[in-house]
Symmetry: C2
Subunit: 334 residues, 2 copies
């Protein structure tokens, strides 16, 4: 009766309407929303089917998205070094002033970008913000991606780096997480670590996690076209999910962790916004953690689209969000 993939009666029709810019969002977030002409990830008429389609798309999207490392480091009072850990490219980010409580801690960061974008130097931006805001040393994993490295390489790379840093850090002094695909990937890595009986990190950060790739979440419908960053599932998200999954069932828990077992997960902090296409992925993850008796704190920002705290990184909402994350890390890392 309630077919997951098809939208038929007993659904309902919502009329076309004008959405004002959110009046209760900060001025900076309002400006960011008003100035986004069309959703950044919306594809319009573009198709992503052949490998040539993908190459052209990735080339355009990856160009000009990266802040050069040197000015980024200076601006943020950190140092950034390229390294390899377990044969995987990573970026090590050390704050010029490490917070006394974080001397022995580590934030292990996995970037977003739908498992196809956001790699290379771009992967480090969010890790720099976290390291700088929290005074915590960070490592950002430049995990390998499709077309050349589809699922499960991203999960394997993340687990491999984690196992290596475990040799020099206590598990409960490590935080793991990221935004969007990074949040989903962090969940998937935890499922894998549980399976391998490896000590789990002390805290998880799930910023609007892409926790279900199978077009099941309700806000994929209700916030379609409302979200200024992602646009809609049809287009980029769907194409990226299929490219990454490489033929695997999209409800495989390592692809869509919401179909896995969250029992024993580390304390987790989750962020989203009222306009976020992945608000449902976020609140479903929160509920699943709570149902498993895991400490889990949910924060939802007024008028914010997907990952709006990165898109409008200087808005007060972004500062508040990274301050909440910082407080959470200080409370839960040991």
């Amino acid at each position: 009766l309630f077919n997951t993939y098809a939208a038929e009666a007993p659904g309902m029709t919502v009329k076309s309407r004008n959405l004002p810019v959110p009046a209760a969002a900060s001025e900076q977030l309002q400006t960011s929303i008003a100035s986004t002409g069309a959703a950044f990830f919306a594809l319009g008429d573009q198709r992503l089917e052949t490998s040539e389609d993908w190459e052209a798309f990735l080339a355009v999207r990856n160009s000009g998205q990266t802040i050069p490392l040197e000015p980024l480091a200076q601006m943020s009072d950190v140092t950034i070094e390229r390294e390899q850990i377990a044969g995987i490219n990573v970026y090590r980010v050390i704050p010029n002033e490490i917070a006394p409580e974080h001397t022995d801690h580590l934030f292990l960061h996995v970037h977003g970008g739908g498992y196809v974008l956001g790699g290379g130097d771009a992967s480090v931006t969010e890790a720099v913000t976290i390291a700088s805001a929290s005074g915590i040393p960070a490592i950002s994993i430049d995990y390998r991606m499709p077309p050349d490295y589809p699922f499960p390489t991203a999960v394997e790379d993340t687990v491999a780096v984690y196992k290596e840093v475990l040799k020099t850090h206590e598990a409960n002094g490590i935080a793991l997480g990221g935004t969007s695909a990074g949040g989903g990937l962090a969940f998937a890595a935890i499922l894998q670590l549980k399976d391998q009986d490896i000590p789990l990190p002390g805290a998880l950060y799930a910023g609007t996690p892409w926790a279900d790739l199978s077009n099941t979440s309700d806000t994929l419908s209700t916030n379609a076209g409302v979200d200024r960053v992602l646009g809609s599932y049809e287009g980029f998200l769907e194409a990226a999910a299929l490219l990454y999954a490489n033929g695997r069932d999209l409800k495989d828990p390592l692809l869509s962790p919401l179909y896995g077992d969250f029992g024993g997960f580390p304390p987790t902090i989750l962020f989203s916004g009222t306009r976020d296409l992945l608000l449902s992925d976020t609140v479903r993850s929160h509920r699943k953690l709570r149902a498993a008796s895991v400490t889990a704190d949910l924060h939802v920002f007024e008028g914010m689209s997907h990952a709006g705290y990165l898109v409008a990184g200087r808005a007060p909402e972004a500062q508040v969000m990274f301050a909440e994350l910082s407080r959470f890390l200080k409370a839960h890392l040991h």
Copy 2:
């Protein structure tokens, strides 16, 4: 190139679309959503301007909404007594089995209904659910309402009952709260108590609180027509706000607590749903509490409209919600 949905600066237009029933909601919540033909509070062509309009509307809406007290009490393993406290009609709800930790505690309940509906015997239903789920004695305040008693009577009645029960209970053993207008009214009462230097309750419950009557919140736009209970701001909510406010500025903090000072508020638990017209009121309240360094826990349910945990009271989501509330009361009442 990437223009999926037409966007006009500074607002934007969202195209008409079909919304499937939320696939990841429980079967019971799905059924409840699919079977709600039109939003319960939507007015259609009805106008609420004259006092005759209101009388006719209230007469229809108040009829048949109430479960008789006797079967309600039996069903829920509680006793219900009508009383007066400080001259205000209240209902005293005593669970047949009081939880040992709540022997000396009290849940002071204020009902919802846009400050115009939900009074009389109907006011006690949510209090019964809370008393029964948490094993905590409750008093539900049947505060006086418009047309005869507009603002600030509801706030005054709530404060008067609170002051009276303070004579027999420790403040930090009392929880205060309710759903919708009840959540907003609880916030307003706290502002008033702060102003009068009266000891504050130990915990607050804000179920999708109507915390801003002034049509400022973003989900009033994004979830208009998506919410199956409230429909849209235009119509019932707007008319109720104006009737209740009785000429007062809708941004008066005692009408719209989001414009007040939340410093020193008690620990607060907040609930909403992804389809809730008042999701923004809820998350804005949560952020304002957090900004004031108040302990505040946010819970958002997949696919749920305004107060869906009361509308679909037997759905697993409702059970989970009242279990979260129960856990919060046990943690924060002393």
